[in-house]
């Protein structure tokens, strides 16, 4: 089958599907002699015989760039895999003199050093208790180790918005929904923001912390996030209008 990446359209794939990624052959008349590299992304696996197979169900995407094509599988799951640099919302499950253990919904609980806070010293520890919520960044994420978090930017020494989340309420959503909520163009939070003020912290681990002046408002935001999960973007505004219209005291 002729594979022309310029006419490639994203298509749903399941584990076991082979991907006809063209291995570029060097063209003697081209300017550079080396073929552009093809990058294999998440959800794809290269077999020893060179063929590429899908390992995660989702939508196969391809991005043609001058420095080579990128192929990956776009999927939406619930289980979070820690990646360095991700902002996450977690709950403290254990407290010791030097560190906290934080549940972030990954395969292992994460470690948060008691010194990884703005202005923290050995004598001045953050006042976090078991059960507290924190907004932190993943500083170390490796398959063979427990992930580590930090609530401070190492270069500036400032919190940059991370730290304890006081009050409010945390809900869980799918990873794709969390990624959408972090996009400025996604209509859910801005639409709610025109109705009443509230505060959210969105973790890419599928957890959203919501805080507002009254409980009905917190419940309205939570309901919108839950109902809009896995729905197309076009339906999100309608969902928000429906929820806000039905919640009293908003």
């Amino acid at each position: 089958m002729d594979t022309d990446t310029t006419s490639f359209r994203p298509r749903p794939v399941i584990p076991g599907d082979t991907v006809p990624i063209p291995i570029a052959t060097p063209n003697p008349s081209a300017e550079s002699s080396a073929p552009p590299p093809v990058r294999i992304g998440p959800g794809l696996h290269r077999r020893p015989d060179g063929s590429v197979v899908v390992v995660k169900a989702g939508v196969l995407c391809c991005n043609e760039a001058k420095d080579g094509a990128r192929w990956w599988v776009e999927s939406n799951f619930k289980r979070y895999v820690p990646v360095q640099g991700d902002p996450v919302v977690g709950q403290i499950t254990y407290k010791s003199a030097d560190f906290f253990r934080v549940e972030i919904g990954a395969a292992h609980q994460a470690q948060l050093s008691a010194l990884a806070f703005e202005g923290a010293t050995k004598r001045n520890r953050p006042p976090l208790e078991v059960g507290s919520l924190v907004y932190a960044r993943v500083s170390v994420a490796h398959r063979d180790m427990e992930p580590e978090l930090e609530c401070v930017d190492q270069t500036t020494g400032r919190a940059e918005g991370f730290g304890e989340l006081k009050g409010g309420f945390m809900i869980k959503c799918s990873l794709g929904m969390a990624r959408n909520l972090l996009l400025p163009k996604f209509p859910l939070l801005p639409t709610l923001g025109t109705r009443f003020p509230f505060e959210t912290a969105v973790g890419v681990n599928g957890r959203v912390w919501i805080s507002a002046a009254t409980e009905p408002r917190i419940a309205a935001v939570a309901r919108c996030v839950v109902l809009a999960d896995r729905r197309p973007w076009g339906q999100v505004k309608g969902v928000v209008e429906g929820v806000v219209g039905s919640v009293e005291g908003v």
Binding site: I14, G16, N76, F77, H108, D144
Partner: protein, 222 residues
């Protein structure tokens, strides 16, 4: 299907109704000794619901359910990419048969349903594992044995049934993940049944693929 699970699937095949839920990869509880290896582990649990059969089953696993759990594990293991799972983690697969129609056919459907649930949970798989069952039944004592695919409980427990098999195949890789044969059957009959079962797995794979590709989440196969 199961909101609390990371991945789930529901499947109907004739009268058989199977539900699978996958949790993980999550932290494996640390065993007492450090001798347990740190590699990731797949744990399979197969259970008939007490109301699944015409006569009530107990809520504790009996020997056939423990054997079916082992068959499920053997069938799913070749497809799971263990390199992608974190160290010292476990993936739990729980399969419940809500209505059964013969043990072999129920286990075969459980295998298919469990691999769809694994895909729904985002566990990296080399391929989907499709299960298929067959029974060896002569239509009368003198005629050669027929191979009946997807036998019902009447067919698989018939007095003149000489054997039954469960086949789990990975159609895209053209490999057999698990094969178990029970009974007294000749070599030619086994060969014929393997070819038929592989064809059945391939066509069921096409149907399962169409459902997964069409749905966003909460896969339902019927």
């Amino acid at each position: 299907m199961v909101p609390a699970a990371n991945g789930s699937a529901f499947m109907e095949a004739g009268k058989i109704k199977v539900m699978a839920a996958v949790y993980g990869p999550r932290q494996r509880p640390a065993s007492a000794g450090s001798t347990s290896s740190s590699s990731p582990v797949l744990l399979c649990d197969f259970k008939f619901a007490p109301f699944a059969s015409p006569s009530r089953r107990g809520y504790l696993k009996d020997s056939s359910e423990r054997a079916a759990s082992l068959s499920l594990l053997r069938a799913l293991e070749p497809a799971v990419r263990y390199e992608a799972l974190p160290e010292r983690s476990a993936v739990d697969v729980f399969v419940t048969v809500l209505e059964e129609d013969g043990v072999q056919a129920s286990v075969a459907s459980a295998i298919t349903c469990a691999s769809v649930a694994l895909a729904d949970a985002g566990i990296e798989l080399y391929d989907l594992v499709i299960g298929c069952s067959a029974a060896f039944l002569p239509s009368s004592p003198d005629t050669p044995t027929n191979v009946l695919l997807d036998p019902t409980v009447v067919e698989s427990t018939h007095p003149s049934c000489t054997g039954s098999l469960i086949m789990a195949a990975m159609p895209s890789l053209a490999e057999v993940a698990h094969f178990e044969l029970d009974g007294s059957v000749s070599g030619e009959e086994v060969g014929e049944s393997i070819d038929l079962a592989l064809d059945a797995c391939a066509s069921l794979h096409g149907a399962v693929k169409a459902v997964i590709a069409g749905s966003g989440s909460g896969d339902t196969v019927s």
